[in-house]
């Protein structure tokens, strides 16, 4: 393994890329959290004066965009990267260099978005950037340009990762791992990747039209010239609703791994959980206009989308029953991971219920654009996605770092976050019903909103304390905690069959799978223990590559050019082309005109390793 910084820059190892995703995304979680804290400070009292109206607009826009694209999605990506190949019994993803490319474009795109702060032009039209607010006429600065271009970059990153993981999951399952033996986390990852590759092109087009409006004077969203701002809303929510499932399905997958492990009982109704996940993904493309009930699309359209939205609640509810039934009668070990999973079920249930409420258009007419919707989306996104991610963090931390986390600190972590979260967001239901609109930078006293706003702001600090406890726990664990065994939780899936952290090549011999809960079956003697084949003399791993970061640098250079000078666009494009060609011929040229490398000439073979960690056999 190449060491040092260079090793990380050129790495194509899915585990390292997973860690890069995780660390970067966690930093952006803190950034987004800081923005949220400023928002809440501003709203703590009537007539707040912490920030100006303009800054407030930038804060909520950047907060939403950061949390969705730079925190929750890449935190999920960290688990996809690290865990999915291990669960599949694979040595890496299908396209290791593309995997590195996804990460670098994500990193550069995130930095690009946040660079807007330094030139005083942070995006300010909300995370869904409704048309007309984003028109050049009303927003002449570079704010929206930063937003459009960085979203395009992040989209490219997600799309590349999407293709990569679809192929990885379909095509790199260990022998014997049929689809119905795949861990649910892998299943939910697969559905998520399909949602990504199908939903992101739609917003790409929406953003292209916006870009043309702003850069080249077209009138796609300009009603003055016959254009229709509603087209943006449709394209955005055609992407946006699948996007909310992109954010939640991985958490559902994590919880479906954590619950059976700590209830010591197989997941209840595995096929139902899988099929309902697929149904949710498919229905997700047919309900987007529930975000547009107040637009006035007409009774027929509203009714159709209301029915679709309520239908989608069914597979969602089914899953909740499955999780509860998994716990029922189990021999439960209340670890922190399980606490977070339980928190997920409870909070996601509440978010789902408020969702069903505004699935009814008349109700939504009251709630749209009020703090009630803010409460809903945070119950599903924080109480749902983020709690799921924390369950995953506590569950897989030993695997990823080779160290245990403190369970005592974990308990504090969970309860502080749980209480803080509810104190922050539950009152927002009241605020919304009391008529407080979202996205106002201040309000007059005496409207009945004062108390709940103050309570909500207090909650943020409890929540932040919980995150601090996590950071402390993590640092202490990396510094001095006891080394983690290969299988600290009596796990069911293949990642627990290898050491913690796993060796670079994951599995000495690719395992053969006979059961859905393969490791349990093995440990209980229910799976055939075959005589281990002789360990391979060497294991081929993809060699490190410099070109992913070169291509990503070219892409971001071109993006920078779009805001500054055309010459930079050309330069960036040239770097991309150069990088892409060197990439394509990286192996061919080193072989001097040959075709395929002889199979024993791996640039990075691992010869004669002692079987430090044996596979599941």
């Amino acid at each position: 393994m190449t060491r040092g910084v260079w090793g990380w820059i050129t790495t194509v190892d899915h585990k390292r890329i997973g860690i890069l995703y995780g660390v970067t995304a966690f930093v952006f979680l803190l950034v987004g959290g800081f923005e949220a804290a400023l928002i809440r400070l501003q709203l703590a009292r009537p007539d707040g004066a912490v920030v100006s109206a303009g800054t407030y607009n930038e804060l909520f826009t950047m907060h939403g965009t950061t949390m969705v694209f730079l925190a929750v999605m890449p935190l999920n990506a960290a688990f996809f990267n690290y865990i999915v190949p291990l669960m599949l019994g694979a040595r890496d993803v299908a396209f290791p260099r593309l995997n590195a490319l996804s990460y670098w474009i994500f990193l550069f795109g995130s930095l690009f978005l946040n660079a807007s702060f330094f030139v005083n032009a942070a995006p300010n039209a909300g995370w869904f950037g409704y048309a007309n607010l984003t028109a050049k006429q009303f927003s002449p600065g570079a704010n929206i340009d930063f937003w459009v271009i960085s979203l395009q970059l992040l989209g490219v990153s997600s799309l590349i990762a999407g293709f990569n993981f679809i192929v990885t999951i379909l095509n790199m399952r260990a022998p014997g791992m049929t689809f119905m033996r795949m861990p649910v986390f892998v299943w939910m990852t697969l559905v998520t990747q399909f949602l990504i590759v199908l939903a992101f092109p739609v917003i790409t087009v929406g953003l292209i039209l916006l870009l043309f409006d702003r850069f080249f004077g077209t009138n796609f969203y300009n009603p003055g010239a016959g254009g229709n701002p509603l087209l943006w809303q449709h394209l955005f929510w055609l992407f946006g609703h699948p996007e909310v499932y992109i954010l939640i399905l991985p958490a559902m997958g994590i919880v479906s791994e954590v619950l059976p492990t700590f209830a010591r009982k197989p997941l209840f109704g595995y096929p139902v959980v899988v099929y309902s996940g697929m149904l949710i993904g498919l229905f997700g493309f047919g309900v987007w206009s529930h975000h547009m009930f107040t637009v006035g699309l007409g009774a027929v359209v509203d009714s159709a989308f209301a029915v679709g939205t309520m239908l989608i609640g069914i597979p969602t509810g089914v899953k909740i029953f499955n999780w509860i039934a998994t716990l029922w009668g189990g021999r439960i070990r209340l670890t922190t991971a399980l606490w977070f999973a339980l928190g997920f079920i409870a909070m996601f249930l509440m978010g789902g219920l408020s969702g069903i409420m505004h699935a009814a258009p008349p109700v939504d007419m009251q709630q749209q654009d009020s703090y009630f919707v803010v409460a809903h989306l945070h119950y599903v996104l924080v109480g749902g996605s983020l709690f799921g991610i924390f369950a995953g963090l506590y569950y897989w931390w030993p695997k990823m770092t080779g160290r245990m986390l403190s369970e005592r600190a974990g308990r504090w972590n969970f309860w502080l976050m749980f209480v803080g979260f509810n104190v922050t967001f539950f009152p927002m239901h009241f605020l919304g019903l009391l008529g407080m609109p979202r996205r106002i930078y201040t309000y007059a006293g005496g409207l009945g909103w004062d108390l709940w706003n103050l309570v909500s702001t207090v909650g943020v600090f409890i929540l932040a304390l919980g995150i601090l406890v996590f950071i402390g726990n993590a640092v202490a664990s990396l510094r001095s905690a006891a080394p983690a065994p290969a299988d600290p939780w009596d796990g069911r899936t293949l990642e627990w069959a290898v050491s913690s952290p796993p060796p670079e090549y994951n599995f000495r011999n690719i395992p053969t799978v006979h059961h859905r809960d393969e490791l349990w079956a093995l440990k209980a003697g229910r799976a055939p223990v075959e005589a281990a084949p002789p360990p391979p003399r060497e294991i081929h791993l993809p060699p490190p590559s410099f070109y992913p970061i070169v291509v990503a640098a070219g892409v971001v250079l071109a993006a920078t050019g779009a805001l500054t000078h055309l010459a930079l666009v050309v330069a960036g494009a040239l770097v991309v082309v150069f990088g892409a060609y060197r990439w394509a011929f990286e192996y061919r040229s080193s072989l001097g005109g040959g075709l395929r490398p002889p199979s024993d000439a791996s640039p990075r073979g691992l010869r004669g390793q002692s079987p430090r960690s044996s596979g599941p056999r």
Partner: protein, 96 residues
């Protein structure tokens, strides 16, 4: 490696494609057909589309997984086009 059709099939498919294109363009000029022009043309281009996908892209004989990866998204895309057209009133026939 999957079995690809022989060159003769390719030539035949190309000939059919050329003929359909010729028919399409001539239909455009036949004004009596104006009322049925749109549906006819859509059927004809769908035929061309399928020929290329089935024979030139080999989906007819290739693994089903590839068909799934392509046709599923295609169906969603078509559904979305139709839905958006409906939402924007493209199918509302203006009464004289």
């Amino acid at each position: 490696m999957t079995q690809h059709p022989p060159v003769r099939t390719y030539l035949l498919v190309a000939a059919v494609l050329a003929v359909i294109t010729a028919v399409e363009v001539s239909l455009f000029y036949v004004t009596v057909m104006a009322r049925f022009l749109a549906p006819l043309l859509i059927v004809l281009s769908a035929a061309k589309f399928s020929l290329v996908v089935m024979f030139f892209m080999h989906l007819r004989s290739d693994h089903r997984a590839f068909t799934g990866l392509f046709v599923g998204p295609l169906a969603i895309a078509i559904a979305i086009i139709l839905a958006l057209m409906a939402l924007f009133g493209a199918f509302v026939v203006a009464r004289p």
